[in-house]
Amino acid sequence: MTLDPSRRPGAETVTAPPAAAEAGPVDPFGLGVGWTAVSPRLQVLRRSVLLGLMVLLALVGVGLIVAPGPGTLAGLGILALTVAVTAAAGGWVLIGRNYLSWGYAERDEDLLIVRGWLFRNLVVVPYGRMQFVDVNAGPLERRFGIASIQLHTAAAASDARIPGLPPDEAARLRDTLARLGEARSAGL
């Protein structure tokens, strides 16, 4: 194992209670593979967006409460405020859990991507089946210094995504996948 701090070796079997997800998502299905985690900036990005939206909603709520008018407006304001606070708290935790659950592993013949905390998903995509590899970075993602990779195979259901990759890692992964995909390319 390298000393790469972004790697989180571990072996968590599927029967372990969800609370153990805090230690790292890695190997949630117990495949015995070393997973690479995505950049923590993904978490920061998502939480920032969440906080921004909830602060806005809270301000609207406060505005409704303070404004003179019928009682229903104040009621709506309280509702908005409650929603904002609960969504912020709940979303904060969920985003953290979801971030921890993302991982990918490059094997000899295929790429494994694992995601999801409530609904765990593992997809095995053979290199020879990859048709396109896109690297996308929206304005917010660029701000936070991350990018996401999108894979396309002939099956619509297995269009796999890896968000929150540092740009150089995204580029490296895309080049590797393109090269391996070409080398092992299998006809349809």
């Binding site: 593992l122 053979p126 299998a186």
Partner: protein
Amino acid sequence: MLNASDGAMTAVPDRPEVPGGVTAARLHPLTPFARGWAAMIAATVVIGQDALRDADLLQLFAILVAVTAVGLLAGAFTWWFTRYVVEGDDLRVDTGFVFRKTRHIRLSRLQAVDVVQPLVGRLLGLAELRLEVAGGGGAEGRLAYLSEGVARRLRAELLARAAGVNPDTPEAPERLLVRVPFTAVLGSVLLAMWFPVMLAAVVPLVVLAFALSEPALVAVAFPVGIAFATVAWRQIEGAFDFTVAESPDGLRLRHGLLARRSQTVPPGRVQALRVTEPYLWRWRNWVRVQVNVAGYAGSGEAAQAATAVLLPVAPRSVALAVIGRILPGVALDEVPLVPAPPAAARARPLWWRGLAAGADDRVFVARRGLITRQLDVVPHGKTQSVRLVQGPWQRRLGLASVYLDTTRGPVQAEVAHRGAGEARELTRAQAERARAGRAGAGPERWMTAPAEPGPTSAFGGTGEPGPDAG
């Protein structure tokens, strides 16, 4: 769309010459009429509503002539600027005058070739040629309309090029495998699940209407009856005179009552199979076989239902024999199936008993359903990706589900609610089997494969009589 070769828009010369002096050809001159006749009649009716109301035939005729002239003129303009030519490995289609568009269709990636003749086409002797290529979203390569002879010759040439043989090879001979008789089609519609349900809904209403002398009740039953009649008609129309033949080009499926369709699916292009056995069909031992073919799923549910059917209804033994031609050396009934563990009962009560899955060295088989039994078959080499999914309730029960992804189509192989360890093992094993399957797959140009001894070569026939659907 951009010209595929250099990524920039280039002007297409008036009479494109390609090496060898082959000029691009145009579609049949009757194309504008054949494509637009319905729209022209509709436009006439809309514009001439007053004339219809007053039964002014002269005015109506004048409007019809005017609309037809305008329609034909517009259509002729498009027709003049649409050309196609076969260039080596590609079929090139140029369209458009203001916005030039060139589409290159890689023949080595050909998934299926269909010749479709709608009713007006049959009357005029025209046919539409449809090419399905991998990744197609429908209407990928559509040449509408050509004359019947040209369409057939072009199809033969395209398939020959896709197979890797001399393009001047005449149309491959075919051997009839199955012809579905009309009694079977009719019986299959009457025995489909919804028909008794409809009867149970409509008949009491009608009886009540007569008993209580309340004609309004019939008005309620009427739309229900119409809706079901539409569904029945569509099924009968699509499955009329369904024949399956095999040839070196692949499987030839012909069907249709009004619009006659002739599909050719080259060897190795069938991605997955589904054998369905509705409850009422078991009395006659009938099954339906559907397939995933890349490109067929593009145009939405209705089109998919029409094109993705290999056998609309046939006795089980006949269906297995046809499947045996597609997957030589595979005995579906002998693949060992492992049922779902009893713990699955809490995730899918009652129906968990119908779940089973297993694999041999050629295919993966997943079975589900108790009332309508369904068998999904995926050859290992056709597996695109494998997914392992576990929801919170499954985690609680220690279960997980595995999905084998293939190209878009009616078949989605699912192994639901296995023990977590078993699901993990299944994923690992299937990824390995898929790798072996890919390595052992034939080339895309199927005729260039070295001849193999044994039962692997499925096409060409040895003179044995084909089975008949009875």
